[in-house]
């Protein structure tokens, strides 16, 4: 295997004195879909944010496109064409849908804005209807689509998605997973954090399982789906 697009090497991160990540190592190869599953509070979202230096890794390093980005300021990491649809969606509530999407396109000066807007509206037609509405007035599902759309506006090479299925109707979840698969077919690398382990593992090429700040298992999506401990913990509701 050639050098991975993103590699997280032995990273530890803290919130104050609480250790949220304990020596995590993960690799994401170019044009792969990699998923990270785990229970609430396992540190999945922390890892997503640590890739962007929020909080910054206290130990270990993060390498992207062969370059150590561990100490790079957050906004410069974003400019390397890594985009994130973060936990909690973080839509700008007092900006319109269009302005939210414009914020996503800011890193390349908005030169492809109209073309990319059309693409995003094709993926999520509801956004076209809401285009002049304020972000804060959208429903949860619409906000989720807007968050993903906003991340896509920067034409990322690596897309980080944190729980894109959270709080959405099953039909919408299926639609979003189809969009992820389609984006990947077009050449985008996706790193996906999910609690919806079944869907995520079916979609992903490879997966990691995280338990209280450490990676405990890894393998292809199929392998993990077959593992009894994964089934017991994440797929059968702990029965």
């Amino acid at each position: 295997m050639s050098a991975p697009l993103l590699s997280v090497e032995n990273v530890s991160a803290f919130y104050g004195s609480i250790q949220a990540l304990k020596g995590v190592s993960i690799e994401v190869a170019d044009k792969e879909i990699v998923t990270l599953i785990g229970a609430n509070g396992a540190g999945k979202s922390t890892l997503m944010m640590t890739i962007f230096g929020q909080p910054r890794a206290r130990e270990g390093r993060i390498v992207y496109e062969g370059r150590d980005i561990t100490q790079l300021p957050t906004h410069e990491i974003a400019r390397l064409r890594i985009a994130q649809s973060p936990e909690g969606r973080r839509i700008f509530p007092r900006m319109t849908v269009r302005e939210n999407l414009q914020m996503g396109a800011e890193i390349d000066g908005g030169q492809h804005f109209e073309a990319d807007l059309a693409k995003v509206c094709e993926l999520f037609p509801i956004l076209a209807k809401r285009i002049d509405q304020r972000g804060g007035t959208l429903s949860g599902g619409e906000q989720q689509m807007l968050a993903i759309g906003r991340a896509l506006m920067s034409r990322p090479r690596l897309l980080l998605l944190d729980e894109p299925s959270l709080g959405l109707a099953p039909l919408v979840v299926r639609q979003i997973f189809e969009v992820i698969a389609e984006l990947n077919r077009q050449g985008m690398t996706v790193f996906l954090v999910e609690q919806n382990a079944f869907h995520a593992l079916k979609l992903a090429h490879r997966g990691y399982v995280m338990v209280s700040g450490s990676v405990t298992m890894s393998g292809t999506g199929r392998e993990l789906l077959a593992r009894p401990e994964v089934r017991a913990a994440y797929l059968e509701g702990g029965r």
């Binding site: 962007f52 929020q54 300021p73 957050t74 906004h75 410069e76 974003a78 400019r79 985009a83 994130q84 973060p86 973080r90 700008f92 509530p93 007092r94 900006m95 302005e99 414009q102 914020m103 996503g104 800011e106 890193i107 000066g109 908005g110 304020r134 804060g136 007035t137 959208l138 429903s139 949860g140 906003r150 920067s154």
Partner: protein, 305 residues
């Protein structure tokens, strides 16, 4: 009737100046949640800068055209005051970001004291008289025993304020810089995730606020014909009051609040006693805040979750 009309004209003029200063308070509060107590002193400093340039242009450079020299003074004043604000933000506030909440506030009070003392030492404690300019008046209405007049400087103040506010509104609403600013105001972390340089945006916010305060400083100097090192305090507190009354964080609120404070102060002085004009202003603020804690336009956004 004529008397009231005259007071309204005076009140709107004064209110324009307050509004320009208030924007600096409200923008900085919106983006970093800090009351920049040194902003009033930046305003005072800018009126001295304006006076120095005005004298230099007429005495040393020998520019006789008033319009030209006012224009140059305005531009230079905005640039220099912005530079001050930039340095202040870098030295007194940015190092304390991420520290406990009160730290930058205390630093701002310290900076306020430093600035007024610096000007006192550098320029002397006495009132500096300003050569009278644009004092001619246009009579609007000749009453039986009262004449309503508007002076050229009042027209200048209101027109310049309106033009600048329109330009400023355009920047905030329509340009990438304005969007970045609003994004930082609503969610700084997310803005950074989208590639916005948050520190730079905050610096620019201080710089824009100071540029508007510099305009207010020049207007204040022309209007009152005198500047003093302690002039930062009262107009500063009034403008802060205007920002709170309008709803802190809201830009139209700051302008509306400024106009209201200007009108209240002027009308009170005209009909009651001038000694209590500041009391009246702050009393109305207190009453307004009891019944409308978020200010006039600072309604919290209804958000679906």
């Amino acid at each position: 009737m004529e008397y009231l009309l005259q007071q309204l004209i005076n009140g709107i003029t004064l209110g324009s100046i307050y509004g320009l200063i208030a924007i600096g308070y409200t923008m900085v509060f919106g983006i970093i949640g800090m009351v920049n107590f040194a902003h009033g002193d930046v305003f005072m400093l800018s009126s001295f800068i304006a006076l120095i340039f005005l004298l230099a242009l007429s005495q040393i450079a020998g520019i006789t055209s008033l319009a030209l020299s006012l224009f140059i003074v305005l531009l230079l004043g905005m640039v220099l005051t912005s530079l001050w604000a930039w340095v202040i933000e870098r030295t007194a506030y940015r190092p304390l970001r991420g520290s406990f909440r009160l730290a930058p506030l205390i630093s701002a009070i310290g900076m306020s004291i430093f600035l007024s003392n610096f000007v006192q030492v550098a320029q002397g404690p006495r009132n500096k008289p300003v050569p009278s300019i644009l004092a001619d008046v246009i009579t609007i209405r000749q009453g039986e025993n009262y004449t309503v007049a508007v002076s050229y400087k009042q027209i200048l103040i209101v027109v310049v304020t309106a033009v600048l506010l329109a330009a400023f509104w355009y920047v905030v609403q329509k340009t990438p810089l304005g969007r970045a600013q609003r994004a930082c105001e609503q969610d700084r972390k997310m803005a950074a995730l989208l590639g916005v340089d948050v520190d730079r945006t905050i610096s620019l916010t201080f710089v824009i606020g100071a540029a508007l305060a510099a305009v207010a400083g020049l207007m204040f100097m022309i209007y009152y014909g005198v500047v003093n090192f302690s002039d930062g305090f009262t107009p500063g507190v009034k403008a802060f009051t205007a920002a709170v009354l309008g709803g802190i964080g809201s830009l139209p609120g700051a302008v509306l609040g400024g106009l209201l404070i200007g009108l209240i102060e002027t009308l009170w002085s005209a009909y009651f006693t001038i000694d209590y004009k500041d009391v009246a202003t702050f009393l109305i603020l207190a009453v307004a805040l009891i019944f409308m804690p978020t200010g006039l336009l600072g309604k919290p956004e209804v958000e679906k979750v």
